[in-house]
C-alpha cells in the first residue's frame, strides 16, 4: 500500500478532460516524477490532490484515508505540502516571515516557530536573504522559498511543481541536491518537471500524462524507451541522444 493512491481520477473543465481515469500510487519515501507536454494535466493533478479542484470521479487515498472533498487547508494539515508553478509568496512579508507563517501550523509557540523557520531557511540555503522581500529574490531563490514554505508545514508528502524550470544548469544541480536531501529525510516527493536530465537522475518512477491520460508508468529508462512517450513528448531526437 502506498502513502498516496490515486484511483481512476477524472476532472474536466467544460468539455475538456483535464484528467481522465488516472490511477497510480506512490510508496513511502519514493520520488515520483510526472512528465508530459504542456496542458497534459500535470498541474491539474496537483490541484486535485491538494483539494484546490474536486474531481468528478475517482478517489485519492492518503495514509489510507480518502481525501477527496477535503478543503486545501485540511489536506495541508494532514501532511501534503505543495509549491506553485508560478511562485506565490506572501509578497508583503519578508522571506523569514513567509516561512515563519507556515511554521506556525505545527508550532504555535512564536519563539519555537522562529527557530524552526531559521533552521528551514538555513537548510534550503536562504539564511542570508531572510529579511529580503520575495520580489528582491532571483528566480532560483524564489523557488527555494516555495520549497522552504512547503517544508515548514512538516509534510509527509511534498508536491513540487516545476521547481527547476528556468534555472541555470548549476542552479539545477544545487536544487536537485536539495530535493534528494529532502527525500533522504523520509519525505515522499512527487515532482512535475520538464527538465529530463533531472527526472532521469533523481526519480525511481515516472508517470507520463498526455491530454489528461496516463500513457505510461515505469522507471526512467523504461519511459525513455516507450514508443508512445517518445511520440507524445520526448521526440525522436531524445532517443538518439
Amino acid at each position: 500500500m502506498g502513502i498516496l493512491e490515486v484511483k481512476s481520477v477524472t476532472k474536466s473543465f467544460g468539455g475538456l478532460k483535464a484528467l481522465s481515469d488516472v490511477t497510480f500510487d506512490v510508496k513511502q519515501g519514493e520520488l515520483l516524477g510526472v512528465i508530459g507536454p504542456n496542458g497534459s494535466g500535470k498541474t491539474t493533478l496537483f490541484n486535485v490532490i491538494t483539494g484546490y479542484y474536486r474531481p468528478e470521479k475517482g478517489s485519492i487515498w492518503f495514509n489510507g484515508e480518502n481525501i477527496v472533498g477535503l478543503k486545501p487547508f485540511q489536506i495541508a494539515k494532514k501532511g501534503i505540502a505543495r509549491t506553485f508553478q508560478i511562485v506565490r509568496p506572501l509578497s508583503s512579508l519578508s522571506v523569514f516571515d513567509n516561512v515563519l507563517t507556515a511554521s506556525l501550523l505545527r508550532e504555535s509557540n512564536m519563539h519555537r516557530a522562529r527557530e524552526r523557520a531559521s533552521e528551514i531557511l538555513k537548510y534550503v540555503g536562504l539564511s542570508d536573504k531572510r529579511e529580503a522581500r520575495p520580489s528582491e529574490l532571483t528566480i532560483a531563490d524564489r523557488r527555494k522559498l516555495e520549497v522552504a514554505r512547503a517544508l515548514a508545514i512538516e509534510p509527509r508528502l511534498l508536491l513540487l511543481d516545476e521547481t527547476l524550470a528556468g534555472l541555470l544548469p548549476s542552479e539545477i544541480d544545487l536544487t536537485l541536491k536539495l530535493i534528494k536531501s529532502i527525500q533522504a529525510n523520509g519525505i515522499t516527493i512527487i515532482m512535475v518537471e520538464h527538465v529530463m536530465r533531472a527526472i532521469m537522475s533523481a526519480c525511481e518512477k515516472v508517470i507520463v500524462l498526455d491530454h489528461g491520460e496516463m500513457i505510461a508508468m515505469g522507471t526512467p529508462v523504461e519511459i525513455a524507451r516507450d514508443k508512445k512517450v517518445v511520440a507524445a513528448y520526448l521526440g525522436a531526437e531524445y532517443q538518439l541522444a
Partner: protein, 321 residues
C-alpha cells in the same frame, strides 16, 4: 543586522504609542479647557474604532468601508438598553461589543463569499441597510429624531459629572483596546491575517482555514468598534442614525486608518488626534454648515494615497531620533 533594524522599527512604533499615551495623560494637568478635552475624548473614541478597522482591513486585507455597521450597533445598544429595558446605558459597553461581534460573525458568512472590491462594496451596502433600519424603525429607534440617553452621574468609580473622569476612562479604554489589538497583530493570528491578505491560495497551502480566520478578524474588529460606539453615545447622551451609521463616521475611521498606516495598529495614535483636531479646526473656521470638514476629508484621502500611502507611523519611525 536587518533583523535588528526591523525589531528596532517595531519597538519605535511601540515607543510612539507610549509617548502619545503619556502626553495624553498629562494634557488635563496643563489646564486646558473642557472644549479641548471633549475633542480629545472624541478622538480617542475614533482611535479605538480605527485600530479595530486596521485589523480586518490593513492586516487581513478585507476592506470594510462601513466600520459604522459595528460602531452604530454599539452606539444604539447603549440607548436601547436604557430606553427599552430601563437599565443603565453603561451596560451598552458590555452589550454593544458583544452585539457587534455577533453581527460580524453572522454577516461575515454572506460577505466573505465576495472578494476584493466586491467585498468592500457589500460592506457599504450593509452599513446603508442598518442606517435605514434606524431611520424607519421609529417605534424602537426614534427614527431620524433619535433617542435621548438618560444621564447616569456615577458608574463604579467613574464620575460622569466630571469631564476629567470621563477623559481618563476613555484613555484607559483606548490604551487597553489598542494594546490588545497590537498583541493580536504580532501573534500567530496576525501572521495568518497577513497571509490571507497577500494570497489566499498560498495561505490555504499552509493549512490556514481562510474563512475561519477572516471571521475571527471581523469579529475582533466588530467587538472593539462596538465598544467605541457604546462609549460614544454615552458621552454625547443621544443617538440618531447618521452619527451611528452615517457616511461621515465611516469615512473618518477609514481615513484615520489609512493616514496612520493601515497595517500598523498603533498608527491610529498619531492619525486620530491629528485628524480630529484638523476637522474640528475647519468646523470652527468655516462653520459646520458648509461641510468644509468633509471637503477637506476628501482632499486628504487623495493626498494621503499619493504622498504617504503606507501611513504616518512609518514617517515617524523612519526618522532618525
Amino acid at each position: 543586522m536587518k533583523r535588528q533594524q526591523l525589531v528596532l522599527r517595531k519597538s519605535k512604533r511601540f515607543n510612539v504609542f507610549l509617548l502619545v499615551t503619556v502626553i495624553l495623560c498629562l494634557v488635563p494637568q496643563l489646564g486646558v479647557g473642557t472644549y479641548i478635552l471633549r475633542i480629545l475624548i472624541l478622538s480617542l473614541v475614533f482611535l479605538i474604532a480605527t485600530s479595530a478597522w486596521c485589523l480586518i482591513s490593513g492586516y487581513a486585507g478585507q476592506i470594510n468601508l462601513a466600520p459604522t455597521m459595528f460602531f452604530g450597533l454599539g452606539v444604539y445598544s447603549s440607548a436601547l438598553v436604557a430606553r427599552h429595558l430601563g437599565l443603565s446605558p453603561w451596560l451598552g459597553l458590555l452589550i454593544g461589543p458583544l452585539l457587534a461581534a455577533s453581527f460580524a460573525l453572522i454577516i461575515g458568512f454572506p460577505l466573505f463569499r465576495l472578494h476584493g472590491a466586491y467585498f468592500a462594496l457589500a460592506t457599504l451596502a450593509v452599513g446603508e441597510i442598518l442606517y435605514y433600519v434606524m431611520v424607519n424603525g421609529v417605534w424602537f429607534s426614534g427614527g431620524t429624531v433619535g433617542l435621548q440617553i438618560p444621564f447616569t452621574p456615577k458608574v463604579l468609580f467613574v464620575d460622569f459629572n466630571d469631564i476629567y473622569s470621563q477623559y481618563y476612562f476613555i484613555l484607559v479604554l483606548a490604551f487597553l483596546s489598542t494594546y490588545i489589538l497590537y498583541r493580536i497583530a504580532m501573534s500567530r493570528l496576525g501572521y495568518y491575517f497577513m497571509a490571507i491578505r497577500d494570497d489566499e491560495d498560498t495561505a490555504m497551502s499552509m493549512g490556514i482555514n481562510v474563512l475561519k480566520y477572516k471571521e475571527v478578524a471581523f469579529c475582533l474588529s466588530g467587538f472593539f468598534t462596538g465598544l467605541a460606539g457604546a462609549f460614544y453615545s454615552n458621552f454625547l447622551l443621544y443617538v440618531e442614525p447618521s452619527m451611528a451609521f452615517g457616511i461621515t463616521p465611516a469615512l473618518t475611521i477609514v481615513i484615520m486608518g489609512i493616514l496612520g498606516g493601515a497595517d500598523a495598529i498603533l498608527g491610529a495614535w498619531i492619525s486620530a488626534p491629528l485628524l480630529t483636531f484638523i476637522m474640528e479646526g475647519l468646523r470652527l473656521l468655516f462653520g459646520a454648515a458648509g461641510a468644509y470638514d468633509l471637503f477637506t476629508l476628501g482632499i486628504l484621502i487623495i493626498l494621503i494615497i499619493l504622498v504617504i500611502p503606507r501611513g504616518l507611523i512609518r514617517l515617524v519611525t523612519a526618522a532618525k531620533i
